[in-house]
């Protein structure tokens, strides 16, 4: 496992930062870490990169305990509220971080132009970071994180300051990292972005993991169906309700959240049996946003997975 945590807990006095986090992230994956503001996302990332010390629990990064310098040599990190020494040029900043990573002069010569090219900042390296736009600063931060050609990259909101084109480029960089067998831990509130590129996700709420798993499987469990029926009867609605977790009726349109995809076929039978007229029946794949909102609203009661390490 590239990342493995066991009952990782951080308390700020009596306030919970994150509680009993058990995660296992395998090699070569893009792992999305989601949660509402203040849920504990950044706390966990900060613990994993060595900015915070856990109150209890253990974690291993690249098979080594937290804080191990050898593991850090192979780990890249782009902090969320990044700000770099604005009196340095882009090239000097990269050279400084390359020195922190212990890269040799030869490696520096090779890696600095490579990462500048990778993040689209070639030709801008002699400008001072203070003159960079927000987007360029985010790119230089990403370049710093990629300097050692890391096995594992923590990206905390990597596209928050980027325009749509920039976001697409960063997504491409992340996908390219996965293609090369690297592992990416992506902390983002942009659900559509996570949905587009992540293999697995974990959702954290009030400091606890409330759901975790392979994204595709998580989404396939929740099926949204929209049925257009006329001549509805109370019996028909009652039977619909029995099959679904949630049902909303808007005139002839009925929207159902089914518990099981197999129940889609039963809906037509219920309509016909109760003398209704079926105009359309459309199954819609649940989006990550729907799942996320459902889980947060439920408070994670039925989806708690925090105590059981999930091999992803």
């Amino acid at each position: 496992m590239i990342i493995e945590t066991s009952d990782l807990t951080k308390m700020y006095g009596k306030k919970v930062g994150c509680s009993e986090i058990c995660l296992s992230v395998g090699e070569g994956q893009i792992f999305g870490f989601l949660g509402p503001n203040g849920a504990g996302k950044s706390t966990l990332v900060k613990i994993l990169v060595g900015l915070l010390f856990p109150t209890s629990g253990t974690a291993k990064i690249l098979g080594r305990p937290l804080g191990d310098l050898e593991a850090r040599r192979k780990t890249g990190f782009l902090p969320e509220n990044f700000r770099y020494q604005d009196w340095l040029t882009g090239e000097e900043l990269l050279s400084f971080h390359a020195s922190l990573y212990g890269l040799s002069a030869q490696d520096k010569k090779r890696r600095i132009p490579a990462v500048l090219e990778q993040v689209g900042l070639s030709g801008k390296e002699r400008q001072r970071v203070g003159t960079y736009s927000k987007g360029m600063q985010q790119r230089i931060g990403l370049a710093c994180a990629l300097l050692p050609d890391p096995e594992l990259v923590f990206l905390d909101e990597p596209t928050s300051a980027l325009d749509p084109l920039g976001r697409r480029e960063v997504r491409q960089i992340i996908l390219d990292l996965r293609r090369r067998g690297k592992t990416v831990f992506l902390n983002s509130h942009l659900l559509s972005e996570v949905e587009m590129i992540c293999d697995q996700v974990a959702i954290i709420h009030k400091g606890r993991i409330i759901s975790t798993g392979v994204l595709e499987e998580m989404l396939s469990g929740a099926v949204e169906v929209e049925v257009q029926v006329e001549a509805q009867t109370p019996q028909m609605l009652s039977e619909f309700s029995a099959l679904s977790r949630k049902m909303t009726v808007d005139g002839s349109r009925i929207r159902l959240s089914l518990n099981d995809r197999k129940d889609v076929g039963s809906l037509a039978g219920i309509v016909v049996r109760n003398g209704g007229r079926l105009f359309s029946l459309k199954a819609v794949q649940g989006s990550l946003e729907d799942l996320f909102i459902d889980l947060i609203q439920e408070g994670g009661g039925n989806h708690h997975a925090g105590h059981n390490p999930t091999n992803l």
């Binding site: 900060k46 990169v49 060595g50 900015l51 915070l52 010390f53 310098l69 050898e70 850090r72 040599r73 780990t75 990190f77 902090p79 509220n81 990044f82 700000r83 770099y84 020494q85 009196w87 340095l88 000097e92 400084f96 971080h97 020195s99 922190l100 990573y101 212990g102 931060g141 710093c144 923590f154």
Partner: protein
């Protein structure tokens, strides 16, 4: 650690800390030189046997205010060395790199320490040259005194580096200045205590030099420069002089004082959440 030290050098140059300090130091030295020139010219002729004392008073004044300036530079430069980076967010990209937190503290110590020592050496030599050219008093450079002049900002460096690991930049700045002021005022009280034969004032001076030994180091510099086996001119300089030479134990205490603050700085920073 070397990367942090080099970055610290670059920072003091790029952020114009050195430039502004050198400019204002030049202004001070020009004013001091002008003052010594005209003061000596107008007063020395009438001073008679007190001419030597007057000359040495100028030297003591130069070294006293020189110590002030070097101490202020130490505090101002270092006060936000860690806290400023936490407040600005730059530390979040440095600590997760494969570098020990102790190396970050020691790298900054080396960077600022070297800069302060170079500045102190230049300042010390400038004061001696101004005195020599204007009064003809040939004060030998004395490496030991020069070393002590460099030691003063290192005390403030250690204290400020300790404070910056857990206080905000502003709070640390206030604390360091107050501590320095305690040392300075205590040192003056001690000298007045000797003149007035007040044991209480002398004790206040001793306690204050234990709280902040920078002023005691200044007294030792003055004593070592101006005292001769026959007579100690240093004792005749009032609050700027030195009635008795701080002992070697004081130097040992100062060394331990610096070491203690550095160890605490490393320990606190190594364990704190960011």
């Amino acid at each position: 650690m070397l990367a942090i030290t080099l970055l610290t050098f670059k920072e003091v140059i790029r952020r114009r800390i050195i430039l502004i300090t050198l400019f204002l130091t030049l202004v001070f030295l020009v004013l001091f030189g002008t003052g010594v020139h005209y003061g000596y010219e107008e007063m020395a002729g009438q001073a008679g046997p007190l001419e030597m004392m007057l000359t040495q008073q100028f030297l003591a004044l130069g070294l006293y205010f020189g110590s002030f300036i070097v101490a202020f530079l130490a505090i101002m430069a270092v006060v936000g060395a860690i806290s400023g980076e936490i407040e600005g967010g730059t530390i979040y990209a440095i600590v997760p790199r494969p570098v020990k937190r102790s190396a970050i503290i020691l790298g900054k110590l080396l960077g600022y320490g070297f800069m302060l020592c170079v500045f102190a050496v230049l300042f010390y030599i400038a004061i001696l040259l101004i005195i020599r050219f204007n009064t003809g008093l040939n004060v030998p450079v004395k490496p030991a005194a020069l070393g002590l002049f460099c030691l003063q900002p290192l005390i403030l460096l250690a204290v400020s580096l300790f404070g910056t690991t857990f206080l905000s930049t502003l709070a640390n700045g206030i604390a360091a200045f107050m501590l320095y002021a305690i040392g300075v005022i205590g040192g003056m009280m001690e000298q007045i205590g000797y003149l007035a034969s007040s044991e209480v004032l002398i004790q206040i001076g001793i306690v204050s030099s234990l709280i902040m030994p920078a002023d005691a180091i200044y007294r030792k510099i003055v004593y070592s420069l101006l005292a001769t086996p026959e007579v100690s001119m240093a004792s005749m300089l009032g609050p700027f002089g030195s009635m008795s030479e701080p002992s070697a134990w004081m130097l040992l205490y100062t060394g331990l004082y610096i070491l203690c603050f550095l160890v605490l700085a490393v320990r606190i920073f190594s364990k704190r959440d960011l």
